[in-house]
Symmetry: C2
DNA sequence: TGATGCGTTGCAAATATTGCAACGATCGTT
DNA sequence: AACGATCGTTGCAATATTTGCAACGCATCA
């Protein structure tokens, strides 16, 4: 909507690919070098980009600090974190916390598996929305019309043979998930990785976040993972309780 | 340098303080509501801000994803991380990794103490540059004139009685640190917290990062912490070796 | 030494941004 | 139920801001 800002912001993802020099930025933006220079300077003043010694620009520190603050503002995360840790201590697998935002579902917290074989994921990274267990939970909670609208707008990449193939299949899956109050992803994203997930609800009963336990086949079979479901659900409920203010939070001062 | 972009970027730190509505943003920026609206829209399109259900704006997900990518681009971090973990396993204390950027020194990685009493710090947060051990190492490596220039521009807040009081004292400390090749912060930031730090050098011998071990008095005395110095230096040297390409890195495929 | 490539600056043209004023919707009050 | 207030939103005209150009300085390299 604002051309100048639009161009400036486009520089950031570009630099995320790796450091670039002025010419490269100008080319990628399709603007004159002088224009790119002035945009970069403004970004620089705000600390969003950093000019390294070889004159190449890269993403700056303020960005990292801001993101950190953004995450601290997500109070679900604050509340959930100790629970995630405890769950990880109990089962040993990777534990994720995810929220739905702007047609994306993204991880906002993660506790690494204690097994040597781990799944790859990254905080802040959008998840495979059509197959991830947490995504199903978050989308399943939307009102029916929104759910349909979202489902039809999505792409359905066939990561594996068990990936959700299309909008119809996805909507059916969401209905099921909504019904049963938990979700799984059995090899729908990575052939050998399974997940069990449970919803976290706010005071209004809406699903505001979802958490999951993920483990590769080589560590536990899907069936074994499913035996953890009650534990996952209990944990999610405990978080819901605190988050919605029903459960008093025990203050622990360091 | 570019007014529009400048204004747009100013919105982000503002939102980092907490969600705000249009009026508030406009006020803080000192612009008309319609202007603020258009800026917010542009930020929104890029996913930098998110409009929550109550019409308040907050920092968006793309910011988190970008920051994560920015950190992954810092390859010192990649290389150092397993070493930090190992060091933490050996000593149990909080381990930090920091770099110098744009007149700030900031943490880019952290492994939490395994003791119940922990120090507060945050990845992405600028450190107390005049007292932190890692900051001393990073600044001590600058050429003499730059060092002086930086030292004179800084403020010297008296966090504690042992904080560096002024530029002269700081430069003397830097000279000492430069000489001995390691640094400490003994209660200069928080009365009860001590740190030992060692430099990480790139192929050119310049200090590109610094790492530290921090622990509160109640866990170990300053003297006890200092006995860890050889271990910290060995770890830092190991990272330097890998980072500068001297030590072959053992590829570990998950 | 000359040539090429890069970042940088002043300037005038023109485009994009701004603030205004009016509208519509939502919410709380009388 | 109607009214008033508050807040977000849009079209428009004025103008300030941004843009691309061309020229310059500086480095590197042949």
């Amino acid at each position: 909507m604002s051309q100048t800002v639009d161009r400036a912001l486009s520089i950031l993802p570009l630099l995320a690919e790796g450091p670039a020099d002025l010419g490269r930025v100008a080319d990628r933006l399709g603007v004159h070098k002088s224009t790119a220079l002035r945009l970069l300077r403004t970004l620089h003043e705000h600390g969003f980009v950093y000019r390294q010694s070889d004159q190449h620009y890269r993403l700056g520190a303020r960005l990292i600090a801001l993101a950190q603050e953004a995450m601290e503002n997500l109070d679900v995360r604050e509340i959930a974190h100790p629970h995630l840790i405890r769950l990880n201590e109990q089962c040993g697998h990777t534990v994720h916390l995810a929220v739905h935002e702007e047609n994306e579902v993204l991880y906002i917290d993660k506790v690494e598996s204690r097994y040597p074989v781990r799944m790859y994921s990254r905080i802040g990274k959008p998840v495979a929305i059509t197959v991830a267990a947490v995504a199903k939970l978050l989308l399943a909670d939307l009102p029916e019309n929104e759910r349909r609208a979202v489902a039809e707008k999505l792409d359905y990449p066939l990561y594996t043979a068990r990936s959700t193939p299309n909008a119809d299949g996805f909507l059916k899956e969401l209905a099921k998930v909504r019904e049963q109050g938990w979700a799984t992803d059995l090899g729908g994203h990575e052939e050998s990785i399974n997940c069990v997930a449970a919803p976290i609800r706010g005071a209004d009963g809406r699903v505001t976040a979802a958490m999951s336990v993920s483990a590769p086949n080589v560590v536990v079979t899907a069936d074994e993972l499913l035996t953890l479901l009650p534990l996952v659900r209990r944990t999610a409920d405990a978080i819901s309780g605190e988050y919605s203010g029903r459960t008093p939070v025990k203050e622990v001062t360091a």
